[in-house]
């Protein structure tokens, strides 16, 4: 094994040590282990959020996209750069108030309670599980490719080693371990990608140098419509590319859950500012690197390996190994969160809720772990036998989740009329449209991005579907009105209201009314 590979293995060892060190410290006191999350400040919270969201896609998918289409790929980055701010300002407060009023703890449970139908929970759970595993599969492929490039092992062997590390990491880490390793990973990711970016940027002569060189290769790389003007005049494609990452986050269950679990708006505000700043540093660089790859690595066999190759071209091997470890960081921080999320949705929202209501805790943990294992095995098989590109798989999974859930979440707090039929139509219609559009390649013939097509169908589904079936109950309408209310008190007073006391406040309210 090369020295780079050894450094990489050492890095993985350090990361696991951090995880185990925190687990050990925490396991000295169970209270600390279980409540560790409450001590986290905005910086660690922001890093955890971002590293979970960004994934191996940013290191592999994004540059490959820019390599293929040139400046057109920047539309995706533009949407992504504003995503977290849009997400919080549109859904943030209303959803927090609404979920508080309904007493919902998970995003799928929230939809079930808001739309008053268990079928919403079944459909929602199935869609989220399938596509969360798709998302994880993309991380596995990225891990395999990164390991293979670094160690010189075959892709299959690298995949098995990489996934084993992810699984050990997932199982070993407690809450603090995950949070703090995410923080370290976040720093490495941003330093790694910006480091390569800065060197490559000056190497190529800045943006002017890049554009001049791109023009010499093919002037259409400079076009906003993509290489060979592939999407000329297709505003539907451009709009879809911007929308998928700017508003798509509102449809991801593991992102939406943060609106519901906001404890103090002080922490959240700080976290959002830090994550938005982090985004500006991070998001655009991989796309620019993809375009630099057109100039410096025109014959590269796998465009998803541009950052890897550039790192070796521009850095000495040791630094390259360290920087490339960032890819593994991105992969691991995303994969472990999603694996756990998918496992718990399957065991709690599906198995316990619909298959075995009286399932003992022992059965539940078994089901959850078996599901994670099964998902992992299926992921490995897909990744070995027919690996799709990381970009295509992430875009597909992200788009389908966004199309399924974005409209229901937004309608749940902005539309009084939205009911369970509308929600089911929006979820099924949105997800199915994205799947059909992508698998049949309809974007070229229609000029409509799969995400935009899915969004339109989902919206129509919600509007038309909500005309049928029973109307939302009075209880929901009251909660809806309350969630819309502007704050009565001053900003300071409102900010300090303890959301955790909402159930007590509601019970006391009933008691006082009954005893008047």
């Amino acid at each position: 094994m090369s020295i780079d590979g050894i450094i990489f293995i050492i890095y993985l060892g350090i990361l696991l040590t951090i995880g185990l060190w925190f687990s050990r410290r925490s396991s000295a006191s169970t209270e600390q282990y279980l409540l560790g999350g409450r001590s986290l400040g905005p910086a660690v919270t922001a890093m955890t959020m971002q590293t979970t969201a960004m994934s191996g896609f940013m290191f592999m998918g994004a540059p490959a996209m820019a390599f293929k289409y040139g400046w057109y790929a920047i539309w995706y980055a533009i949407g992504d750069a504003g995503g977290s701010i849009i997400n919080l300002s549109v859904l943030g407060k209303r959803m927090r108030r609404m979920s508080e009023l309904l007493g919902a703890l998970s995003p799928i449970e929230y939809l079930e309670k808001r739309f008053e139908s268990p079928s919403v929970r079944v459909v929602g759970s199935i869609i989220s599980i399938v596509f969360l595993f798709g998302y994880v599969c993309a991380q596995f492929i990225a891990a395999g490719k990164a390991m293979s490039a670094l160690t010189g092992f075959t892709y299959e062997l690298s995949l098995l080693i990489g996934i084993s590390v992810i699984i050990i990491y997932t199982v070993a880490g407690g809450y603090l371990a995950v949070a703090y390793t995410s923080f370290v990973q976040g720093l490495i990711m941003v330093l790694g990608v910006v480091g390569i970016g800065v060197l490559a940027y000056f190497h190529i002569g800045g943006l002017t140098g890049l554009n001049v060189a791109l023009k010499a290769v093919d002037p259409t790389y400079l076009s906003i419509w993509g290489k060979d003007l592939a999407y000329y005049g297709q505003w539907g494609m451009v709009l879809g590319a911007i929308l998928i990452y700017s508003i798509g986050y509102m449809g991801l269950p593991h992102v939406v859950v943060r609106h519901m679990s906001m404890k103090s708006t002080k922490t959240v505000k700080g976290a959002v500012i830090i994550s938005a700043l982090w985004n500006q540093f991070f998001i655009f660089v991989p796309y620019i690197l993809g375009m630099i790859g057109i100039i410096l690595l025109p014959t590269i066999a796998d465009p998803e390996m541009i950052i890897t190759e550039l790192a070796y071209t521009l850095f000495p091997g040791i630094f390259a190994a360290l920087l490339l470890s960032a890819i593994m960081s991105a992969v691991m921080s995303t994969a472990d969160s999603i694996l756990m999320q998918a496992g718990s949705i399957l065991s709690r929202d599906v198995y316990q809720r619909f298959i075995n209501k009286d399932a003992s805790p022992k059965t539940m943990i078994l089901v959850s772990r078996l599901c994670i294992l099964l998902g992992g095995v299926v992921g490995v098989i897909v990744a070995i036998y027919e690996p799709p590109s990381v970009f295509a798989l992430v875009l597909f999974a992200f788009g389908t989740l966004g199309n399924a859930f974005l409209v229901p979440y937004v309608a749940s707090v902005y539309s009084k009329k939205a009911n369970y039929i509308g929600c089911l139509c929006a979820m099924i219609g949105g997800a199915a449209t994205n799947i059909i559009w992508t698998s049949m390649g309809l974007e070229t013939s229609t000029g409509l991005h799969p995400f935009l097509a899915g969004l339109l169908v989902s919206l129509l589904g919600m509007i038309i579907g909500s005309r049928f079936g029973r109307k939302p109950s009075d209880e929901i309408l009251i909660a809806f009105e309350q969630s819309r209310k502007r704050r009565v008190f001053s900003k300071d007073f409102d900010r300090n209201i303890t959301r955790d006391l909402a159930p007590e406040a509601s019970n006391v309210s009933k008691f006082l009314a009954d005893n008047k």
């Binding site: 687990s23 396991s27 009565v488 008190f489 006391v508």
Partner: protein, 161 residues
């Protein structure tokens, strides 16, 4: 009234009013009453196989009216007293029901955060029904709007009714 287990008031009427007034200067607050809210307290010995040994105590409360669970940061101190003043909402969640809820809550919390490989052992160490005091506070805003808040007499945190 027979003696019950309760938490002693830590934020007095005056302190609560002073605290609220600090944030909301233009609003008129008045403490109207006190209410003793029922909770079950459970303490468990938790041990499980993970990559590291996991062995320790964990505690939670179960809301006696709504059944919601909450992890306990600091073990509450109780005193047995006869309380003449104040009001006690009637328990909705029975003890047997609370036991099941607490075990499930601790288990869910522990397994999702500690990522156990095998089923953790959870042994009950302590169980109590206790009452936590909340001040019922009226407020009147300068725009004539009025309403009520509950203020936790232990932590000072508050929520509008």
């Amino acid at each position: 009234m027979s003696a019950i287990l309760l938490q002693e008031i830590e934020f007095t009427k005056e302190e609560v009013l002073q605290g609220l007034q600090q944030y909301e200067k233009e609003t008129y607050f008045q403490i109207q009453d006190i209410i003793y809210y029922p909770y079950y307290f459970f303490e468990y010995q938790v041990s499980a196989k993970s990559l590291l040994k996991f062995n320790g105590k964990a505690a939670c409360t179960i809301d006696g009216l709504g059944g919601r669970g909450a992890m306990v940061d600091v073990r509450p101190s109780f005193s047995r007293k006869k309380v003449e003043v104040g009001r006690f909402p009637e328990l909705v969640i029975g003890e047997e029901e609370a036991i099941v809820m607490a075990e499930r809550f601790i288990f869910d919390n522990a397994s999702s955060k500690a990522k156990f490989i095998t089923m953790p052992k959870i042994i009950e160490v302590q169980r109590n029904l206790f009452y936590r005091p909340f001040w019922i506070t009226d407020f009147k805003l300068d725009n004539k709007k009025s309403g009520q808040l509950i203020v936790d007499a232990i932590s000072g945190s508050y929520h509008p009714l």
